[in-house]
Symmetry: C2
Subunit: 439 residues, 2 copies
Amino acid sequence: MHIILLSGGSGKRLWPLSNDIRSKQFIKIFKTEDGGYESMVQRMYRQIKAVDTDATITVATSKSQISQLRNQIGEEAGISVEPCRRDTFPAIALATAYLHDVQGVSENEPVVVCPVDPYVERDYFEALRDLSCLAQEGEANLTVMGIEPTYPSEKYGYVIPENTDKVSVVRTFKEKPDAETAARYIEQGALWNAGVFAYRIGYVLQKAHELMDFTDYDDLFSKYETVRKISFDYAVAEKEPKIQVMRFAGQWKDMGTWNTLTEAMEEPVIGKGTIGDACENVDIVNELDVPILVMGLKNAVVAASPEGILVTDKEQSSYIKPYVDAMDQQVMFAEKSWGSFQVLDVEKESLTILVTLKPGHRMNYHSHDHRDEVWNVISGSGRTIVDGMEQNVHAGDVITMQAGCRHTIISDTEEIRLIEVQLGKSISVHDKKKYALEE
Amino acid sequence: MHIILLSGGSGKRLWPLSNDIRSKQFIKIFKTEDGGYESMVQRMYRQIKAVDTDATITVATSKSQISQLRNQIGEEAGISVEPCRRDTFPAIALATAYLHDVQGVSENEPVVVCPVDPYVERDYFEALRDLSCLAQEGEANLTVMGIEPTYPSEKYGYVIPENTDKVSVVRTFKEKPDAETAARYIEQGALWNAGVFAYRIGYVLQKAHELMDFTDYDDLFSKYETVRKISFDYAVAEKEPKIQVMRFAGQWKDMGTWNTLTEAMEEPVIGKGTIGDACENVDIVNELDVPILVMGLKNAVVAASPEGILVTDKEQSSYIKPYVDAMDQQVMFAEKSWGSFQVLDVEKESLTILVTLKPGHRMNYHSHDHRDEVWNVISGSGRTIVDGMEQNVHAGDVITMQAGCRHTIISDTEEIRLIEVQLGKSISVHDKKKYALEE
């Protein structure tokens, strides 16, 4: 089966664990069998592979997520990079063209599109496989998944089937209603439209050529900024007469708020934390290295990361966005393809960060115009290249680099950690020039 | 007036802002007129000086508090260091001997003893001055302050006066009662015994010689570990027939819990914090550099420091101690006489700290047997001495020191900040040898 995972959005609703560069799908909060934690992306990737080891997975996402995706799911998955945000139809068209033109998948093969962020179990992926088979059979041009509603939600669009069969022709789509209208839809047999659907590749390519002027993947990629923003539902699904819906009654949880996210946690404390005896229904998600103690609270979430600390009533957690929008925050930690960094100290003319370089990885070869840097290697060993000079380094070594000097650090076999001290009057992430490295 | 401030206790009840080495009296949470914040110690010191600029203040405390006291109130106040904890009678006797033998205060002069941690206003210090005058007049050997109770508290001892005059002979002392008994005491006109009293120096010296075998301050200091633990109330006050009580009806708040402490805060947020619209009676005390957001909580305190994060219902905050006792924590920040340090990163074989050296101060000249260190100077300028070699340093300089090497840094006029990276297999605060420095 071919799957396109839509990995979108910056995740202000799950601040402080999500931020402008780390979306909610990368937060590691789901317990794994070996006692560690995995993110939504990692969980879904693992679940797909468990149901179909041969599944090809393509993640449709923005440039800013590539490093984190590679960090979390490795090099195997395909990534269809959206040069900018252009809503779901261009994104799905681009990913479909990527599958066809770059990966060489035939026009007749089916593909399943689904968002990366619902919390689901194995039966969901078995349903995706069924969806793929239905697309392959070709009774309809488009087969959507309809989730059996558990309450009259205002958060989702609805799809109303002709009948109550497992697979039915779609009568109509409905946009997000108010609760009363939602209840009326449900009486009519409506299902939640979860944004999950399957089609044969040729079908979406044809629709794409009808709506956008391009020749192939490379061409669409290069003119992506100029295409019109339009949703897949509006551009395709709502206009397609040959469309069917397959109902799904298994677990499907939207992980959009701290309230819903913590429902999916297996245990109430992730990280260092203590919940006092007088607490009820309290969860702690702590990415800091210091303990959190909660006493006497009910129905609350405490979440802490290097970016900040949230303490919220669970019901209230859905109102977080304006508060986070009002914060003018520096990014304090990030996962990169080569490892990660965390800001330790911010001063007027210096910035100190902890850098972790994964075994077998390297930084870009780069320089800064407006700051000097010092690397204090605190663990591991590897090589640095500074203005073309290579030297072996290990814990205890100190490397000083003046502004303008080209530098990189390379791990051959061991993880390397270093304290990087940046010094300058105008320290900025944008002050960076990259160079090709000839070894 | 001569005042002995009793500055005791480690402050687990106000974790994470107090800890094994920072007691509650050093937390800066009281707003000052210039927009900054001051601690209980600083507030009380300032308040005493405002009422009596000539007051001599002697702080009776343990060795572990000297650095913080000097950091917060400077060099002027006297400090009577208790070599170990021996309850209030030996502590008061030692401080009284210090006043007499070290400071040269005459036996006939009065002295007022009071704890450093109640939250009080100017009228309290005017009352202390009255207390000092009463001791000077000598109608009684001991004059205690009785606080007019506002409720039948179980937390305080009581003193019952003979009559309701401003100053009355004491009929009897009562230990901490249950609430019912407290109510009965109050019906009899009882006052809270706040541990505040005044006497002439000669009186307590005489009591001290009766109960302990010593010649003078130095002698008592040297044999302090061998003296019996006994409270001042038990050893002196409850046995003294010539004793009077002066009533005080002004503000007097015990700052023992987060609940009572936050009542004394002028505004609900100290540090970076946002209280959402749906909150009621929420306070934030944030010593971290990242924001705290609280949504939908009622009657709660959120307190954060480099040691940890507390989220507590206000009423529940008095039950904190066993939870904090159960934590095995490293000290993550400390104020020293020369400045302060904060731990930024802890690894298996390295520790990174931010050091701030106050203008005109220096570290001890010292060495470590089991770790190398690197100083990355990030702001200011001064001098380092490393194995006897002096050199000028400023922001951007890196100084590396092998284990065994003697080193110090000296600020002449500017505050210096540096990132210190410690490297070694067994990093410990106890791995430190100090040396005299000849310049």
